[in-house]
Symmetry: C2
Subunit: 561 residues, 2 copies
């Protein structure tokens, strides 16, 4: 491709919104351009990269026995109602109505669509298992998007759905897909960590995310130093460190407490004991049922809303309660009691089971209780793991957690019978001739986000450094004064040899051409100038290395074999 | 691909909605399946065909210098307002609002999106021309869809947009694209006719459709016997045959007319002269402005609503007037006058200029006028070509039109300055440093419809007969009793040789396997049975030919080179 004819315009300016490196570089180098927030054009050179990523994903998926197909983008809303997913406020589903009044969801994920397809056929146990996937645009009505391709409102996803006779066969596929995904991301130049995660609005019982460690990412997760455990903050289990564990329960008392003691910090200051010694109550409202939920734990811990929603089977339904909600309970911020608010549902973290003689729980203007013990003085409606892990928390195996940030580029989900049990007719005929629901899994890769992750991991101060596997071109050929004639010859020769070459034939200064080459980031730069021509050679340099070297014309053809 | 593991299920039943051959066969052979009316799943074997079609389109577009990219599917509605296309009721635009209240159109065509992209850059005349295209889902809120892929509500379109400094350069590209499209359709096995057509809601001044002649198609067009003219019914020009042309104007009179004379047929019967002798008035209402339009012609002609809308610059805005509208004019159906309805805008067909001494024009219960002449007794507000051509009508070159039906698989549009003049900043800098609007063209190919057209043209009573270029597989290998072992060997050998082979390894009767092979339509069938194995051979048969022949094992490998 001759650069003079290519719709590729590098730019020096980036907007303040482009906070992450990949957003900046992909825009500056002319790979993407924003339409409106969270919706991107892939310019010709960007689309080449996107297609290379898709080709690698397809190759590995096919090799693993999955079959590509394509489902409609508009999903009949009835299907989402059948599985009750339209109620999940946490999932940003866009809806559209046609002229005849039929309602559709703009595809966010496609579990229902694939199940609906499968149930149109008669499936026997002999047909199982199968795994169908597609590359298809997905829509998310995110309130906030970020600069670049890391969190967008519209993107291409490879989403796959597998159907099995039983859990055992699903688990074989689940392991196979974990391996397939690892291979895919390896080929893209991405080192991924497989992290236990939360199924969220997808449903099912367990899932794993493929995360590229990066400060630009939005996924927080914890690993142990030896890497034996890796868990998303949504699900990370950890050992509690309850105050006065094992101590004798002292008699509960109501005592005077100065009015200035309001916050957890005030308590620590006043009583001189660490935050784990005080109860802490966080109030939520279920936006679907209206129920008020009080999450109870100790001052050293934070509520993990995802765990809390899972425990309550209220995925995506909890919102922080407002002053109005508190007023209905007869209280206000800072004065929520550990027991006694009629109408509220108390969910206590497991730390309460072993913490002893807590200070607080019935705060009034100038009094509070001390020596408060769960099980004696108050009992939550439910005790569960609802706290957020933290750097240094003790993992189940006794190691201490390290906190990490990363980019989630893929995920694999066990769905089990979640969909097949809700959608009528989603069954196969077993060997005995009886109908059985499918055991399912699903598997996603964000194509654009993977592209952004590659850039986050492969760049320097001058620009992108594409791994060969996904580079838009193999060679960036530059002609300088006195080298144009020879460069054209080399360009034609490379094209004939099937080498993908971007040829900078523009009438620009050498400095500008070099800067663009560094910014665009094609792995191999070949320069033809008066000087090199005189020596019967070209100058080659690998992107990311500083040393250029001269090789003779005759060696150019062999360069990429 | 082993058929036992492939998600491919042929079926004998088709729904009554599947009226056309391609709908029936693609569904029966397991290529597509309907989600809801007009929205289709492409099953794995169907998606293979779709991808082969896209690959051919891409190859030819790239060879012609166009550059693939990808634009968002949700278009900010402001852009469509900028060009005033949201007002065009004839265009079935779906709209969606996000949580923050931003409105979007679901991409129907993407002129505005591409112009909006381009104006984000500084473009110099040196950058021109360029042609950008994409493969992208398109949405049409059609009131009616038809079985199969011929008219759907969601489909993949290859849409391209070219930008030029002037008309001359655009015309070069327009011709180049006509050639490119002809080559593409040739490669798909489709013989296309390039037909002059109407720009409709796309805008611009002229366009051409690529039509595959077929009774299953919805495009009506006219050709001359020698093929020198081919024009869509929307635009086909023809010579009028006015009544009494050249005759002296007789004095207009009001005469008694029996009450039973109501329709055109009654007139013909009563006066004994052909339909061309009577004025005919058809009333429309502009749904945007409310204006009442009376289209005036003679009884032998039909109003061409597309021509009428173009003449009035009211594309997609006219609707047949109702009795209420007529009442407001002080008339009713059958009694619309050729002149005198205050508030109505009269558009006369050019036939009125030369027709003489017409009978009618002021019909009352028992009277009417005769010897009515346009220009003397009444004068339309506008005279224009607003009549529909017909089989046998005289083309501008004097030949007689043949009426044809066909499937529109592609189109090329001159857009001129239609978009760049309306969208602020859609300019390039010319050699003098002045801003100039882009001269534009756009070019579309419906991928799914092309696939349906291929099937409409390539089938027999047993099923589809895919052209090699788009066949999902090259070989359909069938193992029969006693041939499985040898078939697996041949299958593996073919895979190694890079041959795309569908291997029917199922435990089914020979008859069922043959029937499926005929239905699926892969060009070459290879059968391995006890009999052939004993002879050290396989049986090969081309789909569409009736004779099978035996070739020896050693010749199989060479079969597809």
């Amino acid at each position: 491709m001759k650069l003079s004819r290519y719709f590729l315009k590098t730019t020096k300016t980036v907007s303040d919104d482009d906070k992450n490196v990949s957003a900046k570089l992909l825009k500056q180098a002319g790979f993407i351009r924003e339409s409106v927030a969270g919706r991107y054009y892939f310019l010709p050179i960007g689309q080449r990269v996107q297609q290379k990523i898709m080709a690698i994903v397809k190759e590995e998926m096919d090799a693993a026995g999955a079959q590509e197909m394509l489902a409609p983008i508009l999903h009949p809303l009835e299907l989402w109602q059948e599985t009750n997913r339209t109620n999940t406020t946490g999932f940003e589903l866009m809806k559209v109505k046609d002229r005849r009044g039929a309602e559709f969801a703009l595809g966010g994920t496609a579990e229902e669509m694939f199940v609906d397809l499968i149930r149109k056929f008669t499936i026997s146990y002999r047909d199982l298992p199968f795994h169908l996937y597609q590359f298809s645009p997905k829509f998310r009505d995110e309130l906030r998007s970020r600069g670049g391709l890391l969190r967008v409102r519209e993107f291409i996803m490879k989403d796959g759905y597998s159907f099995h006779a039983d859990e055992k066969d699903f688990q074989r596929e689940y392991e196979s897909m974990k391996n397939t995904y690892s291979r895919i991301f390896d080929r893209l130049g991405l080192k991924t960590i497989i992290v236990e995660a939360d199924n969220g609005y997808i449903g099912g019982e367990y899932c794993h995310e493929f995360i590229v460690e990066s400060e630009a990412g939005e996924s927080r997760y914890f690993t142990t130093p030896d890497g034996s455990i890796a868990a998303h903050e949504d699900v990370a289990k950890f050992k509690r460190d309850p105050a006065n564990a094992g101590a004798e329960m002292l008699p509960m008392q109501t005592i005077e407490q100065p009015a200035w003691v309001q916050t957890m910090e005030d308590n620590v200051k006043h009583y001189g004991k660490p935050a784990s010694h005080y109860p802490k109550n966080v109030v939520y409202r279920n936006t679907v049922t209206g129920q008020i939920v009080i999450a109870a734990l100790t001052g050293d811990l934070q509520v993990n809303k995802t765990k809390l929603e899972q425990v309550l089977k209220a995925v995506g339904q909890l919102e922080a309660a407002g002053e109005e909600d508190l007023a209905k309970l007869g209280t206000k911020t800072g004065y929520v009691h550990s027991w006694g608010h009629a109408g509220a549902y108390y969910v206590g973290d497991s730390v309460l089971e072993h913490a002893r003689n807590l200070i607080g729980g019935q705060k009034e203007e100038t009094t509070d209780t001390i020596n408060v013990n769960h099980g004696r003085d108050f009992t939550c409606d439910l005790i569960a793991d609802i706290a957020l892990a933290y750097e240094g928390a003790v993992a189940p195996d006794g190691q201490k957690y390290l906190e990490k940030k990363g980019i989630e580029v893929g995920n694999v989900f066990q769905l089990g019978l979640h969909y097949s049990s809700k959608m009528k007719g989603a069954v196969f005929t077993d060997a005995q001739g009886c109908d059985q629901p499918f055991y399912m899994g699903c598997y996603g890769i964000g194509i654009g986000r993977s592209m952004a992750a590659v850039v986050e991991k492969h760049n320097d101060a001058k620009g992108i450094i594409w791994p060969e596997s996904v580079s838009p071109f193999q060679v960036h050929l530059i002609a300088l004064d006195g080298g144009f004639e020879e460069a054209v010859r080399i360009y034609d020769e490379m094209l004939k040899a099937g080498i993908e070459v971007l040829y900078d034939d523009r009438d620009k200064a050498a400095g500008e051409k070099f800067a663009d080459a560094d910014l665009i980031g094609i792995p191999l730069r070949v320069v033809v100038s008066k000087k090199t021509v005189e020596q019967g050679s070209v100058e080659i340099k690998k992107r990311g290395e500083s040393d250029a070297k001269l090789i003779s014309f005759s060696d150019v053809a062999g360069l990429l074999k």
